[in-house]
């Protein structure tokens, strides 16, 4: 699975290491405000959605781990309005905690965009490439 050019958005990967299965959501905003037409778009609806989907694939919730990437602050002058990266990070963390799912790896915040590749079969490894040219494996 690939997520291209993450800015303030967050890619949430939910992984079951025992069964080598995973699910991924591209989260744009922290709160759905009751809207349920695009659950993957908001942190509060994406977390339960991925949990459900991974259980439907045969996953067992107590072995789930999460990895999160993104949530950057792309603008310096528009901070107040466009700094939703930080709010996205907080929301995703809070909802994972509610579900008792630990975050085992993250590459979040900062001021650069990121592109990632996630392979659930390969131990759930995530390769991240940042806009400044640096790369890492989570």
């Amino acid at each position: 699975m690939t997520a291209i050019g993450l800015g303030s958005c967050i890619a949430l990967m939910l992984h079951d290491p025992k069964r080598s299965i995973g699910a991924c959501a591209h989260i744009m905003l922290p709160e759905s405000g009751g809207k349920c037409d695009r659950p993957g778009k908001y942190a509060d609806t994406a977390v339960p959605l991925l949990v459900e989907e991974l259980i439907a694939l045969g996953g067992v919730k107590r072995s789930f781990v999460a990895k999160i990437v993104g949530g950057a602050s792309m603008f310096s002058n528009f901070q107040g309005k466009l700094n939703i990266g930080e709010r996205n990070i907080e929301a995703v963390r809070a909802h994972l905690q509610t579900h008792g799912i630990p975050i085992t790896a993250e590459d979040i915040g900062g001021t650069v965009g990121r592109t990632l590749q996630y392979n659930p079969l390969n131990g759930g490894t995530i390769s991240v490439k940042r806009a400044d040219g640096s790369c890492s494996e989570l």
Binding site: S8, A72, G113, A131
Partner: protein, 202 residues
Amino acid sequence: MELSAQQMDELKELGNIGASHAANSLSQMLMSPIDMTVPEVVLIDIADIADYIRDEIAAIVIFEIQGELSPGGYVGLYMPRDSAIRLTNTMLGSTDMDREFNEMDESALLEVGNIMISQFLDATATLLDIVMIPSPPDIAIDMAHAVFETIISQVASDINSIILFKTDLRSTEHEIQGAIMLMPDYTTLNEILTLLERMIQG
């Protein structure tokens, strides 16, 4: 959200007038002719943004639309990395392509963006007979998709598709290309369509 073929055409015409003023100001700054494409108006589902905008490094000067329509949405000048360097080289009298962006580049790009986008908004607002003013600009030099999805998340909190309004500009002499992208807020878009409708019935 759906737009009729006629509404698309009206928006293209509006974009055409705005973009030709912007192209004209760029042409004066570079003292060189600028070619311009017919504006594209596309309705993009937020899940498909990556089909239109990729993660190549680009310079994006962005403005919030202020004035009578508020929140108005965003308008930006997009330039691929190499074009942006060539543009500032042309302005600052340098030829070094193999370098990082510095503060001089950023302020030159902010200035070019400011002049072009002011022209763009001024021409479209005059046609619509409303006031549209650009906010002070901000600049990001980063993956294009990362920058645009951050802006789109602001205009698409309640909706799942956005109108992207794009005109390509090109200077053959200086090998510079760029695009003006307009991402109106949903209510602003409706307001613009109503104004256009009224003008045509006139």
